[in-house]
């Protein structure tokens, strides 16, 4: 038996629209696809969860300000009845100076650096997206922030 529903087709279309919105860096288009009570968390660098559409919008705006050309190149997409999982490679050019916390596993120390502007980041990423009423209700993003920090010179 293959579980294939109309819903999964609709979710596949939603995933495509959502991906396009991100890859054109269109914040209004992205947030339009979210429920009012959306939640978002990037599981990286201690980022706090954003709860509610306004908070999610603010969090996304921060990412777009940091990486104005942010792009998620799809590596695999798995679609279910109420969710999708996207494995992608996230790339972007850092547009503003940021403070990153560098942790060098070899030397074991923690230091703060304030640099990275103009750096190119490229990290594997997975998004677990839950859908309700045809909109994104939850976006959980997993990426290796230490890899990003190394690319920003934060070791």
């Amino acid at each position: 038996m293959t579980i294939q529903t109309e819903d999964s087709t609709a979710i596949r279309e939603l995933a495509a629209r959502y991906g396009d919105a991100w890859n054109t860096q269109d914040l209004d288009a992205i947030i339009e696809l979210h429920t009012e009570d959306s939640v978002f968390q990037a599981h990286a660098a201690g980022s706090p969860p954003a709860e509610g559409k306004r908070a999610v919008r603010d969090a996304f705006a921060g990412y777009l300000a940091l990486l104005p050309d942010i792009n998620f190149a799809e590596r695999s997409l798995h679609v279910g009845e109420d969710h999708w999982v996207l494995e992608s490679t996230m790339t972007g050019t850092v547009a503003q100076a940021i403070e990153v916390e560098g942790v060098d596993p070899a030397a074991v120390f923690v230091a703060a650096v304030d640099e990275g502007r103009g750096a190119r980041v490229e990290v594997p990423c997975v998004d677990v997206i839950e859908v309700r009423d045809g909109l994104v209700a939850s976006k959980q993003t997993y990426l290796d922030s230490m890899l990003m920090q190394r690319q920003l010179g934060g070791e």
Binding site: M1, T5, A44, V103, V108, V128, M146
Partner: protein
């Protein structure tokens, strides 16, 4: 799936609901469901590295490949035990995890896992999304998507753990990527 759905999720904004996926056959879904239940039990309260590995061992293919940040890929059950689990539990003896969510698509399973442990006196929590590829009901590949910085920061702030951590890193550096 009481083990999974009864995990008492509090930290995660996402639900702990299990999910089926388009394209999954009933058999594939059943295999995924069984594997996730085993996975949840294995992470719930491991006694030590060897009992942890003993639990997982029957559920891995002999040439299972493990890919994770900060470490070279680990291939095979013996390498999993000696190069991954033992150094990890040596560093974090009370490491345990709670499955918060999972999804299956054919032979691929995604598991969101909350890991908790203590290094020195520093407790840490980190969350991972593991992609497991099954062959004949056993894992042939595991790719972990996670941010290891909570663990590394706990190490950095617990000087007594440095020798164990450096030892694990040196072991890793010696191995071909």
């Amino acid at each position: 799936m009481a083990t999974v759905n009864g995990s008492g999720t509090t930290a995660s904004p996402s639900t702990a609901a299990t999910k089926t996926a388009a394209g999954s056959t009933a058999a594939a879904y059943a295999a995924a469901d069984t594997w996730v239940e085993m996975f949840a039990e294995g992470w719930a309260n491991p006694i030590d590295a060897d009992t942890f590995c003993d639990h997982f061992d029957p559920w891995f293919q002999p040439d299972v490949r493990m890919i994770q940040p900060q470490l070279a890929p680990v291939v095979g059950k013996r390498a999993f035990r000696e190069e991954f689990a033992r150094p990890l539990f040596d560093l974090v003896p009370d490491l345990h995890g709670t499955v918060e969510n999972w999804a299956a698509s054919g032979d691929v399973v995604y598991i969101e896992l909350r890991l908790e442990g203590t290094i020195g006196r520093r407790a840490f929590t980190m969350r991972t999304c593991d992609r497991i590829t099954l062959r004949d009901g056993k894992a042939i590949e595991r790719v972990a998507y996670l941010d290891p910085s909570p663990l590394v920061k706990a190490v950095a702030r617990s000087p007594r753990s440095w020798p164990r951590f450096v030892k694990s890193q040196v072991r890793n550096l010696r191995r071909p990527k």
